[in-house]
C-alpha cells in the first residue's frame, strides 16, 4: 500500500483541487499539503527499501506477470524522494511566482497530475504501464506549457508537443514489437524470458527504438533540439519542474530498460550510448556559450549535463552507474533551483534576457550570494555537490580505462565555469542598464531556492554516505536476478 501512495496522493489532491471552491489560499494549502504528503511517503518508502530490500506491490493482488506491479528499489525510491522534495519546493515557489489567475485555473491540479505521472514512471514494474505514465505526465506538461497564450509560448509548446508525441509513438512501437516476441510486459518477466529470444536483429531494432524514444525525452544528442527551444518560455515554476524532473524520467527509463533487457556492457549499443553521452556534454556546452538569455543558457547546460547522467549507464560498472545516480540527484536539486532563480528575474523585470538584467548583487547581496551556490555547483566548483558528482563520474571513467571520456568530461566541466561566470556577471554583477528601480525580492520567492541550496549543501556534507547509497542503488539496478526474485518470487 505504501508504494501506491506517491501515485494516489497526487491523484486525490488533484481531484480535490478541482472540486474545492477556487479560493487561492485554500488551493495553496491543499496543494502544499499534498506535495508534503508525497515527500513523507517517499521518505517512508526509502527507509523501508533500505531496511528490507526491494519492495513490491501487486496491484489488485494479481500475481506478478499478469497484473501491474509497482516496484521500489533504492534507485527508484531515491528518485521518488526527489519528486517529493521538488514538488513541495516548487509548489511553495508558485505561491508568489505564478500569477493568481492561473493559480485558480487548475495550475496546482496540473502540477499534481504531473507529479503523479513522474512517480508512476519511477515506481512501475511494467513497460506498458511506463508508457501510460509517460503520457500522463506529458499531457499535464503540455497544458502547463500552453497555459500562457503568448506567441513564444505557443510556439514552444508546439515544438514540445510534436517531438514528445513522436517519442511516444516510438516507445509504443518498441513495446509492441517486444510484446510480440517475448509475450510479456512485466519488467522482471521480460528480464527472465527475453535473453532466450534475443537475436542480433531484434536487439538492434529494439535498442535503437528505445534509445530514440527515451533519448528524445531525456534530451540526448542529437535528439535534444526541442528542449532549449521550449524550456525557456513557461513560468519559472513550470520550467523548473520540467527541467528538474521530466528529463530525468527519460534517463531513468533508459537505465531501467537497458540494464534489464540488454545487460551486456561490452555490446556495441553501450559504446554507442557512450559516444552519444560525451557528444551531448560537448554540444550542450557549446550551445550554452552562444546564448544571451538566462534560461536558454540553463537549458543548454541541462542538456550538457544529461550526458553526465547517461555516461554511467554506458560505462556499465556499478561505480560508474552509482556516480551517475549521485550526479542525477545533485543535478535535479541544482537545475531546479536555478530555474526558480530565473523566476526572480521574471518577477522583477519580466524578462530573463541577460542584457536587461544585472546589479542584483548591489541591491541584495545576500540573495545574490544564495544564487551563487547552485550556479557554481552546476559548474562543479569544489567543494560543492557538483564537484563530487563529477569527480565520481570521472574517476569511474578512468577506472574503466576510458581516458578520452574523462578528458572530455574534465574539459567540459572547466568550460562550464565560464558559462556560469557569464550568468553570474550578466544577472548579478554588472551594472544594470535599465534606469528604473525594481522592487526588492521578498522572502516568499527567495525561500524555496534557499531550501534547495540548503539541500545541495547537505548533499555536499554527506557526500560519502550519499555516494555509498547511490553505488548500492546502482549495484541493485545492475543485478537483474535480485529484481526478478523480488517481483516473481523465488521460483523466478
Amino acid at each position: 500500500m505504501l508504494l501506491a501512495l506517491p501515485i494516489l496522493l497526487p491523484l486525490l489532491t488533484a481531484i480535490a483541487l478541482q472540486l474545492l471552491p477556487h479560493r487561492p489560499t485554500l488551493l495553496r494549502a491543499v496543494a502544499f499539503a499534498g506535495a508534503l504528503g508525497i515527500l513523507i511517503a517517499a521518505i517512508a518508502i526509502l527507509i523501508r527499501v533500505e531496511a528490507e530490500g526491494i519492495r513490491v506491490l501487486q496491484i489488485g493482488s494479481w500475481p506478478a506477470p499478469f497484473g501491474i506491479t509497482l516496484v521500489a528499489d533504492v534507485f527508484s525510491s531515491l528518485l521518488v524522494l526527489m519528486v517529493g522534495i521538488l514538488g513541495t519546493v516548487i509548489t511553495a515557489h508558485s505561491f508568489s511566482g505564478v500569477d493568481p489567475r492561473r493559480e485558480t485555473f487548475g495550475y496546482h491540479a496540473l502540477i499534481h497530475v504531473l507529479l503523479m505521472g513522474v512517480s508512476g514512471a519511477f515506481l512501475t514494474g511494467d513497460i506498458f504501464n511506463l508508457y501510460v505514465w509517460f503520457e500522463v505526465m506529458l499531457i499535464a506538461s503540455f497544458v502547463l506549457m500552453s497555459l500562457h497564450r503568448t506567441r513564444a509560448q505557443l510556439h514552444a509548446a508546439l515544438t514540445y508537443v510534436g517531438l514528445n508525441l513522436l517519442a511516444s509513438a516510438f516507445l509504443l512501437t518498441a513495446i509492441g514489437l517486444l510484446y510480440g516476441q517475448a509475450g510479456t510486459l512485466n519488467f522482471a518477466d521480460l528480464a527472465r524470458a527475453w535473453p532466450e529470444r534475443r537475436t542480433a536483429a531484434l536487439d538492434a531494432t529494439l535498442s535503437m527504438l528505445f534509445l530514440t524514444a527515451f533519448g528524445i525525452k531525456a534530451g540526448l544528442f542529437p535528439l535534444f533540439f526541442w528542449l532549449p527551444a521550449s524550456y525557456h518560455t513557461p513560468p519559472a515554476a513550470v520550467g523548473a519542474l520540467l527541467a528538474g524532473l521530466l528529463t530525468k524520467v527519460g534517463v531513468y527509463a533508459m537505465i531501467r530498460v537497458f540494464t534489464l533487457l540488454f545487460p551486456d556492457p561490452s555490446g556495441r549499443m553501450y559504446a554507442f550510448v557512450l559516444v552519444l553521452s560525451v557528444t551531448t556534454m560537448v554540444v550542450g556546452l557549446i550551445g550554452a556559450i552562444g546564448q544571451g538569455d538566462f534560461r536558454r543558457v540553463l537549458s543548454f547546460n541541462l542538456v550538457g549535463h544529461i550526458g553526465f547522467t547517461t555516461v554511467g549507464l554506458a560505462l556499465g560498472t556499478a561505480a560508474a552507474l552509482g556516480a551517475s545516480i549521485l550526479y542525477m540527484l545533485h543535478h535535479m536539486l541544482v537545475i531546479t533551483s536555478l530555474f526558480l532563480v530565473s523566476g526572480w528575474f521574471l518577477r522583477q523585470k519580466r524578462t530573463t534576457n541577460l542584457l536587461a538584467l544585472g546589479a542584483l548583487y548591489r541591491t541584495q547581496p545576500a540573495v545574490a550570494a544564495l544564487a551563487m551556490v547552485p550556479l557554481f555547483s552546476l559548474a562543479g566548483v569544489p567543494p560543492l555537490s557538483g564537484f563530487i558528482g563529477k569527480l565520481a563520474v570521472i574517476t569511474a571513467a578512468l577506472d574503466g580505462d576510458h581516458y578520452w571520456v574523462a578528458g572530455i568530461a574534465l574539459t567540459v566541466s572547466l568550460l562550464t565555469v565560464l558559462s556560469m561566470a557569464r550568468l553570474w556577471d550578466g544577472a548579478f554583477w554588472k551594472p544594470t542598464t535599465t534606469a528604473a528601480r525594481v522592487a526588492p525580492l521578498r522572502g516568499a520567492i527567495v525561500a524555496p531556492v534557499g531550501i534547495l541550496v540548503g539541500l545541495t549543501l547537505g548533499l555536499t556534507v554527506i557526500a560519502g554516505p550519499a555516494y555509498d547509497l547511490s553505488k548500492r542503488a546502482a549495484a541493485q539496478v545492475l543485478n537483474a536476478d535480485e529484481y526478478i526474485r523480488a517481483v516473481l518470487g523465488p521460483r523466478g
Binding site: F128, V132, E135, L138, I139, F142, V143, S146, R149, T150, R151, A152, L154, H155, A156, A157, L158, V161, G162, L165, L166, S168, A169, L172, T173, I175, G176, L177, Y179, G180, Q181, L185, R350
Partner: protein, 125 residues
C-alpha cells in the same frame, strides 16, 4: 493477414512521418494521428493474429490456438484512448497557435520571425 497488416503499418508510419516533416500545422497533426494508428496496427500484427476466435478462454478447450490473445487488444484500446486525448489537445493547441500567429506555416509561427500574413499577435502578455 500478418503481411497485409505489416504493409498497412508501414504505410501509416511512412505517411505519418512524411506529414510531420511538412510545414503546415494541420499536416503535423494528421501525421501524428497516422503515426499513432500505425503503432496500433503494428502491435496487433506483431503479437500474432488469431482467426475467428474471441479473446476468451473456453470451459474445456484451453490451448494457445483456441483463443485470441487479449493483451494486445487491451494495449491497443489503451493506446487509442490516449491517442484520442492527445490528438484533441493538439488540435486545440494548433487552433490557438493559428489564432495568435494568423498562419498555419510552422516556419512563420516561430518567435523570431517577423513574417505575419494577417493581424499581428496581441501584446506579449
Amino acid at each position: 493477414m500478418e503481411l497485409l497488416l505489416a504493409i498497412v503499418a508501414g504505410v501509416l508510419y511512412a505517411t505519418g512521418l512524411y506529414l510531420m516533416l511538412r510545414r503546415r500545422l494541420a499536416q503535423l497533426i494528421i501525421g501524428l494521428g497516422l503515426l499513432s494508428n500505425g503503432s496500433n496496427v503494428l502491435i496487433f500484427a506483431a503479437a500474432g493474429v488469431t482467426r475467428g476466435k474471441p479473446p476468451l478462454i473456453g470451459a474445456e478447450d484451453v490451448t494457445a490456438a483456441s483463443f485470441a490473445d487479449p493483451v494486445p487488444q487491451s494495449l491497443i484500446l489503451t493506446a487509442i484512448v490516449i491517442g484520442f486525448g492527445v490528438l484533441a489537445f493538439s488540435l486545440v493547441l494548433a487552433h490557438r497557435v493559428h489564432d495568435s500567429a494568423g498562419s498555419d506555416d510552422i516556419d512563420a509561427i516561430g518567435p523570431d520571425r517577423r513574417v505575419r500574413t494577417t493581424k499581428p499577435a496581441s501584446s506579449d502578455r
